[in-house]
C-alpha cells in the first residue's frame, strides 16, 4: 500500500496509516513525507504488526511508544526517534536529530550516520526487554545521560581518525552498556562511567548488532569490527545514593 503524504497533515497521515493497519495491510510505503510527526505512534495493536517504509523527512517523535512495528526511513529523521519505544525496529538510512531512543525500553534502532544531543537518554531494560541502539556516525553531548539499561553501540564511521567530541558521555548512567568504536578521552566522559575491558560476551553482542547494522546499510561487518572498541559501564548502580542525609 502506498500513501502520498505531500498533501496530508500529520493527523491525516496517521489516520491513513491506522486504516491501512486495520484493513490488514502489512506493508505501507509513505512518499513525500515532510515533517509529519508521530508516525507509527498510534498503532497500538497487540496482534497486528506492520512495516512502514518512509521516503522523505519524517517529523519529530517518529515511532514514539512504538508497539512492535518496523519503520524504515530513506532519508534523515528529526528529533525524538523512538521516544519511549516499546518494541519493534527503526532503521534510518541517514542521520537523526536530538534525543534518539529516549527512555526506549525495547526493540532496536539503527541510524546510519550521526545523531544529535542526548541520544539514548534514560534507556532502560527489564528481563528479556533489552533495547538496542546502533549509531554509525558520531554523537553530540550528553550521550547516554541517565542511561539505566540497554545496549548502545557507537561506530564513528564518518569520523576518520578523529575522536568523538561529545562531552558528558554517560553522565548519570546507572545501567546498561555503551560500546564505542575506537577510544574516548576520559574528560569526555561523565563522572558516573568507567571504561571496562571487553569479554567474549561483548564480542558476541558486537558481532550480532554490528552485523545487523552492516546488513541494513550494505557495509562490511568485518571492517567495522576489526577496530578496538571501548566499553563503558556505570561505576555505581546508585550514583546519587550518598548525597543525602536524613
Amino acid at each position: 500500500m502506498e500513501i502520498d503524504a505531500s498533501k496530508l497533515t500529520q493527523k491525516e497521515l496517521n489516520d491513513a496509516i491506522m486504516d491501512c493497519m486495520h484493513s490488514g495491510v502489512k506493508k505501507i510505503i509513505l512518499r513525500n513525507v515532510y515533517g509529519q510527526r508521530y508516525i507509527g505512534t498510534r498503532l497500538y495493536s497487540p496482534n497486528n504488526k506492520v512495516e512502514i517504509e518512509i521516503f522523505g523527512t519524517p517529523g519529530n517523535n517518529l515511532g514514539a511508544f512504538l508497539d512492535g512495528h518496523r519503520i524504515i526511513v530513506h532519508g534523515n529523521a528529526q528529533d525524538g526517534v523512538g521516544n519511549t519505544m516499546d518494541d519493534g525496529v527503526i532503521i534510518v538510512d541517514g542521520r537523526a536529530g536530538d534525543v534518539v531512543a529516549m527512555s526506549m525500553r525495547g526493540g532496536k534502532i539503527f541510524i546510519r550516520d550521526s545523531v544529535g544531543y542526548r541520544a539514548a537518554l534514560h534507556m532502560k531494560e527489564y528481563l528479556s526487554k533489552r533495547p538496542v541502539l546502533v549509531i554509525g556516525g558520531t554523537v553530540q553531548d550528553f550521550f547516554g545521560e541517565y542511561m539505566a539499561g540497554g545496549i548502545v553501540i557507537l561506530l564513528r564511521l564518518n569520523l576518520g581518525n578523529t575522536l568523538h567530541e561529545a562531552n558528558f558521555i554517560g553522565t548519570g548512567m546507572h545501567g546498561g552498556v555503551i560500546y564505542i568504536r575506537g577510544e574516548v578521552e576520559r574528560h569526555h566522559l561523565g563522572k558516573e562511567v568507567g571504561v571496562s575491558k571487553l569479554d567474549e560476551k561483548d564480542e558476541d553482542i558486537l558481532k550480532r548488532y554490528v552485523g545487523e547494522f552492516a546488513h541494513y546499510f550494505g557495509m562490511d561487518k568485518k571492517d567495522i569490527i576489526k577496530e578496538d572498541f571501548t566499553k563503558l559501564l556505570p561505576v555505581l548502580k546508585r550514583p546519587y545514593g550518598r548525597i543525602y542525609t536524613y
Binding site: Y34, G35, R37, T57, N60, N76, Y117, Q140, D141
Partner: protein
Amino acid sequence: MTRIKREIYEKEISACSLFGAMNRNKERFTGEGVISAIANMHVRGNGLGGGFAIYGLYPKYKDCYAFHIMFERRNKDAKKETDAFLSMNFDLVYDEEIPHGDAKVVNPPLVWRYFVIPKKRREEENFSDDDYVVQKVMHINTKIEDAYVFSSGKDMGVFKGVGYPEDVAEYFFLDKYKGYIWTAHGRFPTNTQGWWGGAHPFSILDWTVVHNGEISSYGTNRRYLEMHGYYCTLHTDAEVMTYAVDLLMRRQHLPMSLVARIFAPPFWELIDRMDENERKLLTELRMVYAPMLINGPFAVIIAHHDEMIGLTDRIRLRPLIAGVRGEMFYLSLEEAAIRLLSQKLDKVWTPNGGEPVIVRINR
C-alpha cells in the same frame, strides 16, 4: 504620601518556529519557499504571531533608511505626529502604505513605510547616522502612542503581525518581494493574545533577531541592558537579545564568535582544560559579561546585511539545524522544512550548543 508603585511586569513566555535562508552570492530570491518552509512547521506556532525579515529588499532606495512603522488601531493622530516628527528629523525621500490584502490576520494596524535620510542639527553632527537613527526610533517607540517601528535599516525590512506566519505573508504579499536573506518566525506565546509589535523579528537598524526560547536569566540581562540605555518595554526575550546584539556587536564591535561565547559560554570545567590564552580570554569574557550570559533554552537566528548567524544555548535545549546547497544556506528548527525547499543538500548538520553558525556573503 503615595507609596512607590511596585515594579510589576509580566514577561512573555513563548516558543516558536524559526527559519532562515541566505544566498551567499547576494542573488535575490522570492519568499515563496521560505513561506512554505515556515508554514511546514505550523504546529510549532499557535497563530499568535508570525513575521519575516528580508535583506536586499529595496535596492532602489538602498541609501535610505527604510522605516516600517505600524500605527495601532490605525490611529490617525499617531500617524500625523509621526509624520511631523520624521519630517523634522529626516529628509523624506518616499513613503507609502505597505500594500496588503485581506488574509486572516488579527486586528491589522496601519503599516507604513518611509525611506528617509537623516537631517542632523548642529549639535547632533557628531552622532553617527546609525546612532542618530537609533535615538529617533526609540523616541517614536516610547513617546508616540500607538506608533511602533518594525524596522529601520537600509535596504531591508521587517513584516510581522498576529496570525500564522503564512497568513502574515499572504497579508503583505510577501511572495512578491525578493531578497538575499530571509528569516522567518512563527510564534507560540504562552500568554498574551498577541500584539503586532510583539511578533518577531525584532529589529534595530539592520539587525534582526528571531528567537525561540525562554531565558531564565531575563531579569539579570534586562537590568544590565538598562544600564546601557536600552529599555525593554516589551518584556520579551527576543527584545533582550536584539538589544544585546546591538550593544555588543554594533556599539562594542565584538565579533560574533565572541558574542556567542558571551551568550553561551563554555562550562568552567571545559575552560579549565583549555590552553592558557584561550582560558584567559574566556575567563575574562565570563567575568566581564557575566550578566549577559543567556541562561535557559534558546535558539536564535540573527541577521544583518552581510551575515546570518544561528546559535543555541550552551547545552542545546533548543534544536537548530543547518543545511547547505550550493550558494544557498539554510537554518531551521526542523530538517523537513529545509528539505521542502531543497530536496538535495550538500551538507546538513546540527551545530553544537553554544557554537554559532556564521554565514557570510561571498566577496
